[in-house]
Structures are given as C-alpha cells and as structure tokens.
C-alpha cells in the first residue's frame, strides 16, 4: 500500500491529476450543479452543449495546444518561449489579412479558410524558427531571445493589417466562426476536436519517430548528443517550428471565436499560463525528459481554476490573490524536490515498519 502511494506520488501525472480531482471535489461540495451539462440551442437554432465542464474543455483549448509546443521547446532548450501570445496575434492577423484582403469588412472571403490558415502556419513557423535560430546557433537564453518578438510581435500584427480591425461578419462567411464555436448539428465545441486532432498528430509523431528521444537527449546534454551523432541545433529549431504550428492553430481558434482581432489584448499573458502548464505537468523547466500529457493536463487545471474562480464571483481585486495562492501550492507540490522528499518519506515509512525489507528495495527499483 505504502509502496503504491510512493509510486503514485512519484508519477509525473500525479500533481495535475490530483489538482484536477481536488478542484472537482471542491466544486462538488460547493455546488454540485457545477457538473450539470445541458443540451440547448444557440441563437442560430443549432444544438449546443453547455455547462461548466464544457466551458473548461472549450476555453482551455488554446492553452492545451500551446502547452504541447511549449513542452517540446522546454525539453529541447531548457528555456521557454515567451512570445507565443504575440505569435498568436501575428498568426491571427495573417489569417484575417488573407481572408479579407484590403477590405476590413469583406462581403466575401478572398481565399479558402484552410489556405489562409496554411499561410498563417508558414508565417508562424518562420517567426518561431527565427527564435529557434537565435537559441540554437547564437546560444541566447530562450527567454531573452523570444523577448524580441514578445515586445515587437503585437506591433507587427497590427502592421500586417495596417492597424485596422478586420471583422468577418456572419453574412460574409458563416463557416469562419465554426473553428472557435460550434459546427451546426454538432453540439460539442469545435476547439475540443481541434485539440484532439492536434494531440493525436503530435503523439503519433513522438511515438513513431525518434523526435522524443532526440529532444530529450539534446535537452539533457547537447554536447554528448552531438558526440553521438545528433544535430542539437536542428532538434532545437524543430521544437520551435512545432511550437510555431501550435501557435498558428491557437491563433485560428482565437480569431474565429469572435471573428475579429484586437492586437493588444488577444491571448494576453497566455505565455505565462503555457509555461505554468508545463511546470504543473511535472516537467523540469531546465529541459530534458518530458511528458506532453502532463502539460496538457496542466493546461486544463489552469482553465479549471479560472472557471471555478469566475463561478465563485470572487471580486476582481481579490482574484489574482486567490489564483496566486493555488498556483503557489501546486507549483511547490509539483517541484521535483518536494516529490522526492515525499517519496522518501513513504519509503522510510515502509522500511521503518520493517515488516518487509523487500518493500524498500521495490521502492528503489520503482
């Protein structure tokens, strides 16, 4: 039993899952209707599911997608990209520019949505690779390298559209809003499907290629990776490129939600949440071994927390304080030091009882 506990605590998913369960338990006690899901209609008369759990899955989508890319960058470079929020502004701006052309209130789209999205992916990869090159070849700390785009990105996004705010009205294109809302006839929010598809693709990529192994070895020790015939620079830039794709996908969801963009506030501070998701997922921010599932769970923990706080009607002045307290607890609990200590504590408990010395050994093995 104690051995099981130790194993449980040692597991990387322990913290995000425990946090999710705790938040769920809290809400269950506070108000069981939190878990109610109802099938209703939106103003177009299409069926939609609603309820807090759906809200969490829906609004957590962008963060979950970003967390995947952020995990790879963290693992490969031992640093974080803080320009993803600005990157989303750029990607969103490119999509709208492509769809609207020079007219900010188009009556018809200038090109298919998927083509516009594809162009945004390319642009996003280009910006991300710029970050990647600074990190990989110039050995600049990732946070410093990405500070450049963090500062300039939103101005670039505004510049792409001449500082105008394009709006795609529902008369112009109904389908553009599907990506961030609902597809008629399907009551589950579309972002949930987009997250699922992204996860499947990334998981297949990690499972059937050597990308995961290479990324981890570069993250742990670039020099010895090089001696073993890997190309650390290429691996790092690849990680950034994948993050670039994630940013473009998030950008599509974001601009689709409201069919417009606001350069200065779109996806504001999302980079910090993405980094937090990676940390909550039990990943070392110094790079090396990683678990994308942990980060994805971490992202939903953050959204769960946000939604819970909104539900509790915590006053605006106090909101950051509540959030900070919870996050401090989560981050401290998920730190490797605490986990190791707790693990050792359980191990000592089991060997201290001395009923079975094998238990201790088993613990070491695990």
């Amino acid at each position: 039993m104690k051995n099981f506990l130790k194993k449980l605590v040692g597991m990387q998913f322990f913290i995000p899952i425990a946090a999710l369960l705790l938040l769920a338990l809290f809400n269950l006690i506070a108000d069981p209707s939190f878990f109610r899901i109802t099938l209703g209609q939106n103003s177009n008369g299409d069926p939609v599911l609603s309820g807090y759990l759906i809200t969490i899955l829906d609004y957590g989508s962008e963060l979950a997608i970003l967390a995947i890319g952020m995990t790879l960058v963290t693992a490969a470079t031992g640093g974080q990209d803080i320009s993803v929020g600005a990157g989303i502004a750029i990607a969103g701006s490119v999509i709208l520019k492509m769809l609207c052309g020079s007219n900010t209130r188009p009556t018809e789209l200038q090109m298919p949505i998927m083509l516009a999205f594809f162009i945004a992916v390319l642009v996003s990869i280009a910006f991300s690779c710029f970050n990647g090159v600074l990190v990989a070849y110039f050995n600049i700390q990732p946070m410093v390298a990405t500070l450049i785009l963090f500062t300039a990105g939103r101005s670039i996004a505004a510049w792409i559209n001449n500082n105008e705010l394009p709006i795609i009205s529902s008369e112009c294109s109904r389908s553009f809003s599907y990506f961030g809302n609902f597809i008629p006839g399907i009551p589950i929010p579309t972002p949930v499907f987009i997250v699922a598809i992204t996860i499947v693709i990334i998981m297949l990529l990690l499972k059937f290629t050597t990308l995961k192994l290479y990324t981890q070895s570069v993250g742990i020790n670039p020099k010895s990776s090089r001696l073993n015939g890997l190309n650390p620079e290429l691996i790092k830039i690849t990680a950034f490129a994948i993050l670039g794709v994630c940013v473009a996908i998030s950008g599509l969801i974001k601009v689709s939600r409201l069919s417009t963009i606001n350069y200065s506030v779109i996806a504001k501070d999302i980079e910090m949440d993405a980094i937090l998701a990676v940390a909550l997922g039990g990943n070392a921010l110094s790079g090396g071994k990683f678990s994308t599932w942990g980060s994805i769970l971490g992202a939903y923990v953050i959204q769960f927390l946000t939604t819970t706080l909104y539900k509790l009607n915590v006053s605006s002045d106090a909101l950051p304080a509540y959030k900070a307290v919870v996050i401090i607890i989560l981050v401290v609990a998920s730190s490797a030091t605490v986990r190791e200590k707790v693990g050792r504590f359980f191990k000592e408990l089991s060997s201290g009882n001395a009923s079975a010395p094998g238990a201790g050994k088993g613990g070491v093995k695990a």
Binding site: N44, T55, A152, N163, N262, S316
Partner: protein
C-alpha cells in the same frame, strides 16, 4: 558559464537598444521649418515667432498608436490637425514607457520646439523635465492623461472625465425604468482611470437605487475573458437583464456568450448591452439594435489643443487649466448612420 551569461546579457542589451532605437525612429521627421533658429527663446518667444510668420514647432509625445483603437484614432486626429497647411511643424514620438517618453521630451526641448504636447505613459516622474521645458521657454500642454506635477509647469490639460462618462451611462440605464435591475458588471484593468470612473458610477447608483449587481469581475479589457465571465453566469443559471461592460471589446465578448446560449439582446430584447469607447463596429451594432448603449471616450483632442495654442499665440491666458472634453452617450433607438460615421473610431 559566466561567459555565456555575459554573452546573454550583452545580446539582450543590444536587442533592447535596437528596440528603443526603433521606437524613436518611428517619430517621423517633419519637413524642416524655414524659420531661422530663434535666439530669443527665453524672452516671450510666442509673439516674436508668430510675428516672424514661421510655422509653430510642436513636439508631440504620445502612447503607441497600436495600443488600442482609441489611440489609433487619437493619433490620426493629431496627425491630421498638426500639418504644415495648418501652420504647424510637428514632430511625433511614441512610447508606452515613461522613461522613453522623457528622453523624447528632452530631445524636443533641445530641438527648441515652441510647444510640447504630452500624453504621459505614467503620472509620475515628469517634474524635472517639465522644469527644463519651462526654463527653455517651451510651453507644455497635456492631453488625454494628467500627471502628478505642479500645475504651474504646464499651460493646460485636456482630458476625458471618466467619472462623467460613467454617470452619463448610469443615468441612461436609470432612464430605462426596468422593473428590476440584475446586472453583470464587466470591469476593465483594475485601477485604470477608465475602470475607476465607469465602475464607480455604477456601484454608487446600484447602492442608491437598490440595483442587484450579480457579479463585478475584471476581464482586463479582453473580449475572451468577458465571454467566460458571462458564460459562467449563464452556466450557473443566474437571471440577468443588463450587461454593463466597460469597453466595447468586452461587450462584444459578452454578446458572444449570450448568442451561444440563445439569450436575446438589444433594443426590446431580454438583455440590455452597454459598452464604452464608440468603436465604429460597436456603433454599427447599436445601429442594428443588437446593443443598447455606447458611451463615448473622446479621442479627438487635436481641435482642443489647436484652440489652446491659438489662444496662447494671441497672448491670451487660459482661464481654466483643466479642460474637460464633451462626451456623448449613444442610444440604439436614436443613433443614426451619421453618428456612426462621425463618432466611430
């Protein structure tokens, strides 16, 4: 290790310098004035220069036009007014950072501008540079934002009265004579002047008239956050009939949440939607009767600045230092296309 750290720092420093250069670089150099450099800057410069017939040199320090639609409109308005045709030789500098703005101010003073027009990023830290301006005979006029400095250091300050904006909106809401008021209050960034003024009016009136504010939460001017706040209220099954959003973006986010839940909004519908800032697209929503009210936050300060400068040039004194701009509130049932074109930003 230390070596790489040093490298990091030096590159970071270089990057910062590039960025600040870029920021200064965006101040478009205006066509050079033909007038000879004035030697008599300290002794009553205004009259002599006006008499000499040259353009009036102004240095305009503003926040980044990309900050918001409001700022973009503000910048366009200033650029349209302070042109050579209107007798001005204007230089612009933009920054959201106070220290960069102060650097720009110092530069303008060295360039011997006649007027320094300032929308300060931060209220503090302006005393010494404004004292320098005064000593150099440069007249300072504040617009849009006030600063914590001695009023003798500037000629006039042209501002919006956020409290009044809030009051106008709340008066309008009161005039709707609803049988009950169940309000979702979506706030801007806490502590900003706009948030304080617009929140204060609502909270006071709610206390006085017994209105029920279901929730007051900050969406930090962000549409997506506003959408989540309203969604959260809908999910909880709360009944509400007013959304008081402190800017247009947040009202838009709130409306998106209403649409998802098939709750009708607008003129004669279940929920009253109120926004601020008068973005063009928001006024169009009013015109289509999807929203009910939009309060103006007037970005068109150039005319006021121009008036003040003309007065000073004629040797008149400014009786009232703080000039509060006229601001309107639009009702969806009375707004016209003309209003949208004229007041939309």
């Amino acid at each position: 290790m230390t070596k790489s750290l040093k490298k990091t720092i030096s590159v970071a420093a270089a990057a910062f310098m590039c960025m600040s250069l870029a920021a200064c670089g965006s101040s478009a150099p205006a066509p050079a004035a033909t007038e000879a450099p004035a030697a008599d800057t300290t002794a009553a410069p205004a009259e002599t220069k006006a008499a000499s017939g040259g353009n009036i040199k102004v240095g305009i320090i503003n926040n980044d036009p990309n900050e918001s639609g409001y700022r973009t409109a503000n910048d366009k308005d200033l650029k349209a007014k302070f042109t050579a045709e209107n007798g001005y030789d204007a230089q612009f500098a933009y920054s959201l950072k106070n220290d960069e703005q102060i650097t720009a101010a110092t530069k303008f003073i060295q360039d011997e501008v006649d007027y320094l027009l300032l929308s300060a990023a931060d209220t503090a830290g302006w005393d010494s540079v404004l004292q320098d301006a005064k000593n150099a005979g440069v007249k300072v006029i504040l617009f849009d934002r006030t600063i914590d400095a001695d009023p003798s250091l500037y000629e006039a300050s042209i501002v919006s009265d956020m409290d009044k904006e809030g009051k106008t909106a709340v008066e309008w809401l009161k005039g709707q004579n609803l049988s009950e008021y169940n309000i979702i209050h979506i706030q801007g960034v806490m502590g900003s002047a706009a948030q304080k003024g617009r929140s204060g009016a609502l909270i006071d009136e709610a206390a006085a008239s017994g209105w029920n504010i279901l929730t007051s939460q900050t969406a930090e001017w962000n549409a997506e956050k506003a959408e989540q706040i309203v969604k959260s209220q809908i999910d909880s099954g709360a009944k509400f009939n007013v959304i008081y959003a402190e800017n247009d973006d947040m009202a838009k986010g709130a409306v998106a949440a209403l649409d998802k839940a098939n709750i009708s909004h607008g003129v004669g519908k279940d929920v009253i939607v109120m926004g601020f800032d008068c973005n063009k697209w928001a006024l169009e929503e009013l015109l289509n009767k999807n929203w009910n009210y939009d309060g103006q936050c007037n970005p068109f300060q150039a005319q006021y600045l121009d008036d003040v400068i003309k007065k000073l040039q004629n040797g008149e004194t400014i009786s009232e230092k703080t000039i509060i701009m006229e601001e309107k509130g639009f009702d969806a049932s009375t707004i016209t296309q003309e209003d949208v074109d004229k007041y939309g930003i």
